[in-house]
């Protein structure tokens, strides 16, 4: 491993968004989410695996995702999370917020 992948702490709250985004495509279990995020970021983003679980609990408490027993691709029994309607709405909100934020950051960076 040449370059150290970036830990996801530059944008607080973005973990929730990433999870929601991931689940909006497939319903997955915890480790599956980690893998997906890592792979789809081209291994650039490495989320702190332990933080995933408090985040999942928080999202479930808010009613944005729903966990239920199911089977992983490896045929293991696990809790599979899927996004709820409220979760999609939230994802929408966060995506917009995120877009605004990155735009603002970009402007600052580009300012002469």
């Amino acid at each position: 491993m040449g370059r150290k992948p970036q830990k996801n702490d530059s944008l607080p709250g973005s973990l929730d968004m990433l999870i929601l985004r991931t689940l909006s495509r497939h319903s997955l279990h915890g480790y599956g989410i980690v893998q997906f995020i890592q792979q789809s970021s081209g291994n650039e983003l490495l989320i702190e695996e332990g933080s995933l679980y408090p985040a999942l609990q928080r999202l479930e408490l808010n009613g944005w995702i729903d966990g239920a027993w199911g089977v992983t691709p490896n045929n293991r029994k696990a809790r599979i999370y899927k996004i709820t309607a409220a979760g999609r709405k939230q994802l929408n909100v966060e995506t917009k917020k995120y877009a605004k934020l990155t735009l603002a950051i970009a402007r600052v960076m580009e300012a002469q």
Partner: protein, 913 residues
């Protein structure tokens, strides 16, 4: 809100959720390790690398769990702690609030428990909803004319007033049971029963009296009851010639046999007839009538063995009404269908039993009633009084709630500054309201818990009060979950309701004026005053009710009985049930009387058919009409009495003599008539030596004396009383006699000697109904007695709670006015002026409460008119007395704050600002 539900749901599954989380993390680590292994790490390395990358698993787990709990739970704990601290800091306030709420809730729970057990509880049998009671209603046999014209020629049981002056009853002839039972498409079973009242039950030589129920063979099958031991009576047991068998109650099996299993197979004597115990009923089963719990169940046909020829006639006579019936609907059948089908069938049958036009004009009509709750005697007797009591305790709870509201209002005002500070420091309004609500709910919960404690005592006390010394009293109310639920809901509602308003008020966003001034009066004080006025108005209502009931009781106690009430012991023996027969029985009873009279401390002893007050409930001592010359004496009670009856009962002998030892079986039959009877039938002539003829008995009675008038039956109803004919017990020997002992000192002191004498004479005879004359008379006014006592208790309670409210309000009001009072005193106002200033305020509040209440009282008291005797619902004396009591209580409650006000040091008060 949904969030909260989800949290609660989470807590409910706390254990499993933690377990799931653990499993998830475990799985994560395994998968990660597997991946790493696939990339070439060794198994051990992979595992530790997976753990390293995951971070602190335990901590993460803790974090995940906390997400569900933290804020909410920790805030709740904070609130409860803070609430407990403020409560501890205001001990007096808290104690008063909790106590008044507990008393209110306790009283409500008690009365509701009784209502529940009397009015709402179902029989403890399978599917009680499909049971139906068969009744009939019809015109009275004795309306208009005095002669009894009806297909009902004889009865053994109860009738009660139905709608529109009709009579209603559950008694039928046996033939009606057979007619309705055969080929019945709506009932799966139709069973009958007959209350055998108390019989003498001897178990291995030990005799006691036992409540007996005669039941048809379908009874237990129809009720769908399964035995606690042995088997129950079935159809094969209920036919002539079958071996006489008995089923006993669970309680009896424990008392007399040491448990259900050892009772089965034992032989017992019921009125000296041998029976074999074949089974024991389940513990919760009490027959079909909540008012009477049978000790022993016998097959219906065995009435013929126990009661002899008379009972055999009951079976065959289609005009004798005695057996009661219940049916169980077939699945799918409704009561309306059953009514439509059976009413014509019954009508058709009953028409064949009428022999004259007069009888045909008043045929009974079948009427089905729901049977889920069993027979309705108890409900008829108690439902109205219980609703009155429920209304009263509801008022008490309202007074208590007003107290809580008042105290919370006062406290909210006192804490307004605190709230304002908290709000201005950035506390959320919702957060502050929630904390205040937590406090008031905490208050209410404590009140509710204490209330339940009070209620358990109250239920016990009230059961004692209702039973009033009756040994076979069967009404057992208990606090069950339903009642608990109602109580809990009540206390929560009280807490929320009366916490919310002050909480919202004191957290109103405009904090600035409060921070500046520190004190406000205005609207809150008006609200408090309104509450106090309402409390006083409600207390007055209860006070007047209590006054009316106490007045009724006094009137009833001052009714002239015509005989002694105190220092008389009564008890009943039935020698016939133990096998004694005439003429030996008469001698047996007479000898016993002499033995009782020889007890030292007993001044005189006598015997009679029954106690005087219950004379109307026992049969006449003679059969048929009683005539003086050609005139038939109507409405006179003929009672068999032994020697020294008038002396023992202290009834004045107006002429001639009383019945004595001379009047033996062989001698000329004699009679002692009451003054009223003598006046009515002999005018001014001397009745001594005249004759009363008994055509049906073919005997003459010689009148040997005239006694004073005697009150029997109901104390309320005068015309029923006073006409009595006493005949000699030795000449018209009754089966059962009630002895009366006139004693020196407490009559109950002599009970052991009585038991000993009876045991010596014949140990097979139980001594029953041991009671003092005073208690026996009080039984007839049980309802009035209970009402007067309960309502007095309630009135004291209401007054107490209202006074607490008044006291609290006045104390608060004085503390608000400290500077004003200080200025007045500095300007030279004497202490008495200050006291008067506060008391005037109290009196104004009390007077306004009274003014509001009087019209309400005048309307409400009319509702209880039927409970009153010789007392007008608007009795001015009672109203005046209640008003005086209320005003003095108010002054008493207001005096302490007034005194405190007068002790204010002007200097301190002025600096106070």
């Amino acid at each position: 809100m949904i969030n909260l539900l989800r949290r609660l749901n989470y807590w409910r599954n706390n254990e499993t959720r933690s377990q799931i989380l653990l499993e998830e993390i475990e799985l994560h680590l395994e998968e990660k390790a597997a991946d790493l292994e696939a990339r070439g790490m060794s198994a051990g390395q992979a595992r530790s690398e997976a753990r390293r990358q995951f971070g602190n698993a335990g901590q993460k787990q803790e974090e995940s769990r906390e997400i569900w709990m933290t804020r909410f739970l920790s805030e709740l704990i904070q609130d409860v702690r803070y609430g407990a601290r403020t409560m501890a800091a205001n001990k007096a306030f808290t104690a008063l609030a909790i106590l008044s709420l507990a008393l209110g809730i306790g009283a409500n729970t008690v009365i509701y428990s009784f209502m529940e057990s009397i009015l709402l509880r179902s029989l403890p049998v399978e599917d009680p909803e499909s049971l139906v009671v068969l009744n009939w209603h019809g015109r009275s046999p004795q309306e208009a004319g005095k002669d009894w014209v009806h297909v009902v020629h004889g009865v053994q049981g109860m009738m009660w007033p139905g709608d529109k002056g009709m009579l209603e009853t559950g008694m039928f002839p046996y033939a009606a049971l057979e007619t309705l039972r055969d080929q019945n498409p709506v009932f799966s079973t139709l069973f009958g029963y007959f209350n055998g009242l108390s019989k003498t039950l001897a178990v291995s030589g030990q005799a006691t009296s036992a409540a007996t129920e005669f039941v048809t063979g379908d009874y237990f099958r129809g009720l769908a009851v399964s035995p606690a031991a042995g088997r129950l009576i079935d159809s094969a047991d209920d036919r002539p010639g079958a071996a006489p068998v008995a089923v006993i109650s669970f309680a009896l099996s424990q008392q007399r046999f040491g448990g259900p299993s050892s009772a089965v197979g034992q032989s017992v004597l019921v009125d000296n007839v041998p029976f074999t115990v074949i089974g024991v009923a389940p513990p919760e089963f009490f027959g079909v009538d909540p008012a009477s719990v049978p000790d022993i169940y016998l097959p219906l046909y065995t009435t013929q063995l126990v009661d002899g020829v008379r009972a055999a006639r009951m079976f065959s006579d289609p005009n004798f009404y005695w057996v009661e019936m219940m049916g169980r609907l077939r699945p799918g059948a409704t009561m309306a269908q059953a009514q439509a089908l059976l009413a014509p069938r019954f009508h058709q049958w009953v028409a064949t039993t009428a022999s004259t036009d007069g009888e045909r004009a008043k045929l009974p009509a079948l009427k089905l009633n729901p049977g889920a709750a069993g027979l309705g005697g108890l409900r008829r007797q108690y439902s109205k009084p219980l609703f009155v009591l429920l209304a009263m305790v509801a008022l008490i709870l309202a007074i208590a709630c007003a107290n809580i509201a008042n105290l919370l209002l006062a406290r909210a005002a006192a804490r307004r500054r605190e709230m304002a500070v908290r709000l201005s420091l950035g506390a959320g309004r919702f957060r502050v309201v929630r904390q205040l609500l937590t406090e008031s709910v905490l208050l209410a919960s404590l009140g509710g818990a204490l209330g339940v404690l009070f209620a358990t005592w109250g239920v016990r006390a009230l059961t004692l009060l209702f039973s009033n010394g009756q040994d076979n009293f069967t009404l057992h109310a208990e606090l069950n979950w339903k009642v608990m639920g109602v109580t809990a809901a009540l206390s929560m509602i009280c807490g929320l309701l009366f916490g919310l308003v002050p909480a919202l008020q004191s957290t109103r966003p405009d904090v600035m004026p409060t921070l500046k001034n520190g004190r406000v009066g205005g609207p809150r004080r008006r609200a408090q005053h309104a509450l106090v006025v309402a409390q006083i108005a409600m207390s007055f209502l209860i006070l007047v009710a209590a006054g009316l009931f106490v007045q009724t009781l006094n009137k009833l106690h001052s009714v002239q009985l015509g005989y002694a009430r105190e220092n008389i012991l009564l008890f009943t023996l039935n020698a016939r049930q133990a096998g004694h027969r005439d003429p030996e029985m008469t001698t047996f009873y007479a000898n016993l009387r002499r033995r009782f009279e020889s007890i030292s401390g007993v001044n005189s002893a006598t015997l009679a058919q029954s106690s005087i007050i219950s004379a109307a409930r026992t049969g006449q001592a003679v059969k048929g009409r009683i005539m003086v010359g050609t005139a038939s004496i109507d409405g006179a009670r003929v009672m068999a009495a032994g020697p020294r009856f008038l002396t023992t009962m202290q009834i004045p002998i107006l002429a001639g003599r009383e019945i004595d030892d001379r009047d033996q079986a062989g001698a000329r039959p004699v009679a002692v008539i009451s003054e009223r009877l003598a006046r009515t039938y002999f005018g001014n002539e001397n009745p001594i030596g005249r004759r009363i003829t008994l055509p049906e008995e073919k005997r003459d009675l010689e009148i040997v004396g005239v006694s004073g008038n005697l009150r029997y039956g109901s104390l309320k109803n005068e015309d029923q009383s006073a006409m009595t004919v006493l005949v000699a017990a030795s000449q018209f020997s009754p089966d059962r006699v009630t002895y009366a002992l006139r004693t020196t000192g407490d009559p109950l002191r002599f009970v052991p000697s009585v038991h000993e004498i009876v045991r010596e004479a014949d140990s097979r005879i139980p001594v029953t109904n041991v009671v003092t004359q005073a208690a026996e008379i009080d039984r007839t006014i049980k309802r009035e007695l209970t009402f007067a006592r309960l309502c007095t208790g309630f009135a004291v309670l209401a007054l107490l709670i209202a006074c607490v409210g008044l006291y609290g309000t006045m104390s608060y009001s004085v503390s608000r006015q400290i500077s004003e009072i200080g200025i007045r005193m500095a300007l030279g106002a004497p202490r008495s002026t200050v006291v008067w200033m506060v008391l005037r305020h109290v009196l104004i509040l009390a007077a306004s409460g009274l003014a509001i209440s009087v019209p309400a009282v005048l309307i409400a008291s009319r509702l209880v008119k039927s409970f009153l005797f010789d007392t007008q619902p608007n009795d001015p004396r009672t109203l005046a007395l209640a008003g005086a009591v209320l005003l003095s209580a108010a002054i008493l409650a207001g005096y302490a704050p007034a005194r405190r006000a007068s002790r204010i040091d002007p200097l301190v008060a002025l600096r106070h600002e």
